[in-house]
Symmetry: C2
Subunit: 321 residues, 2 copies
């Protein structure tokens, strides 16, 4: 079995590759090769089978052609121009998020073997004029270009699956926390940094109040769900292959309680509350009440509590002092 | 004011052009010109202002460029590869329905004046795993490639509107009945022909039973709604510019009762019931329970009863004997 991971250099792509290397099998078959594709050279991943890397732009059909060959059995499509970026570079977002997804689907169709196609969508597809909680059958009414392009990709994935061109399954990822590494320019960056930085002896700023609610999943459980959803039989997916990946809704207070429970009282004292109206304006529009019924029925899962998220960061990602 | 109608040679495009010619104004301004664009030369339309025609393929950006110029104020995008056709010619459907819509949106953005962009979507975007009745905030889970491509177009329309590139409004058309002309190869063809043919002294076949329910709108009211929705102020459209156009749910029995009420007992005797399993299989999957709340609130309307549909056919479309 040969697996392609687009966005193979990213946080989730790298963790997924390492997890697949550890497992050695997927869908009951031995993994023979993983191809990590990304717009810049992905970091190497150790595995008991070859892991190759490929630098390419999914917005270009010719470059996509080289990522998928007749032996490609499973495609994980994680590559994307993210929310803030797609908002500023509108055409770039269309080219990569919408057209890139279409090119990958067309190439997967072209090989004629209906490969499994796991599509990383996002809860950014959800929002706007819909009631709470958001069900799997609630409209995608995204309020960003990123969410729009991802939602259009979901529709294409479902149709390519209905036609038998691919065995598609789309999962809307919750906000991943605790992300390792440095703060980034995403509006959601603080949702990891208020846990991560204090655990590393640094101060962090929280721009929203203790009551602010959001929908979270740990990187470890996200990867586990990506493995599980690839293993689902196509018939079990029904007439809509897209679903919200399970997460948990927490307040900022819940996050800090979990930090205290796992790491004692000291790190939490490094969190400073400082209003940032621009961040607040964006994140207050986000939704946090979801009912991921289809994914739960298919065996995907959320973390047990945010204590898991903190623990997994310490176990998997915290840099050695 | 200059108006473009894509699909300007089709049933709705022609009726819309004639109605606009009759009105002479739209959005409070005098109409200076209508451009009817289609893949084959549209029939001419008499008007007190110039009506030009343009043959072109919206799948080609260069041809789209010539349809919209700096003076284009309102775009009615009605052109599409229809359901049965897009199911057979998959790539052709993607090229015209998805990419054609994107090209028109990009060209409308390019002129920089945020023109009004009325997008004819379809109740074919709705279906699959969603509960009844279908609300404006219910997921589009289409079960055809046509519906998929139309639903993806809705998402793009909403995002181009949110960004201020166009003043978009998308309306999901119910099944239009009574359509003039000849039966076509659409699975819904009988929903017009069982009324039209008997009124013209011909026999018609009904492939479903008296209890079969569906969602209908007359051509005349469809055109009226297309005029009204162009006149709505952008702010009134909220965070989702797409909506179901009002229609009425009727059984076949209701249709035949209306035919008797309007035209006496004789025409209805020309309807023969004859099971057609292939047609039945398709149309039984269609949805008929919709709550078009947003459109109703914006002043769009359904017919009063199917008697209207029958009467409008007699008044507007029945060929002289």
């Amino acid at each position: 079995m040969k697996i392609l991971i687009t966005g193979g250099g990213g946080l989730v792509g790298q963790k997924l590759a390492r997890r697949l290397a550890e497992r050695g099998t997927l869908r009951g078959a031995a993994i023979d090769e993983i191809v990590l594709a990304d717009i810049v050279e992905p970091a190497p991943v150790d595995a008991p089978f070859p892991v190759s890397t490929r630098v390419g732009n999914i917005a270009e059909p010719a470059e996509v052609a080289g990522m998928i060959d007749d032996d490609t059995t499973v495609i994980y499509h994680l590559a994307a121009i993210l929310s803030g970026h797609a908002e500023v570079e509108f055409d770039h977002g269309i080219a990569v998020n919408l057209m890139g997804t279409l090119h990958l689907l067309q190439r997967a169709r072209e090989i004629g073997t209906a490969p499994v196609f796991v599509y990383a969508s996002s809860i950014a597809t959800l929002g706007g004029e819909v009631p709470d909680p958001i069900e799997d059958w609630t409209a995608t009414n995204p309020q960003t270009s990123y969410g729009t392009q991802k939602a259009a990709g979901e529709l294409l994935l479902n149709d390519f699956s209905r036609k038998g061109f691919v065995q598609g399954r789309g999962v809307r990822l919750p906000t991943i926390s605790v992300r390792p590494g440095k703060p980034n320019r995403a509006a959601s960056s603080f949702m990891s940094s208020i846990i991560r930085e204090p655990l590393n002896g640094q101060e962090a700023i929280c721009p929203v109040g203790l009551d602010f609610q959001h929908y979270y999943l740990s990187p470890r459980m996200c990867v586990e769900n990506l493995v599980r959803v690839a293993e689902v039989e196509q018939e079990a997916l029904g007439m809509n292959v897209n679903m919200t990946m399970p997460g948990l809704t927490h307040t900022i207070g819940d996050l800090i309680d979990a930090l205290r429970d796992v790491a004692g009282p000291e790190p939490a004292q490094r969190i400073r509350f400082e209003s940032q109206p621009e961040i607040e304006k964006i994140v207050m529009g986000w939704r946090y009440a979801f009912n991921p019924a289809k994914a739960l029925a298919l065996g995907l899962a959320a973390d047990n509590s945010f204590r898991d998220n903190v623990r997994y960061y310490l176990e998997d990602d915290k840099p050695s002092p």
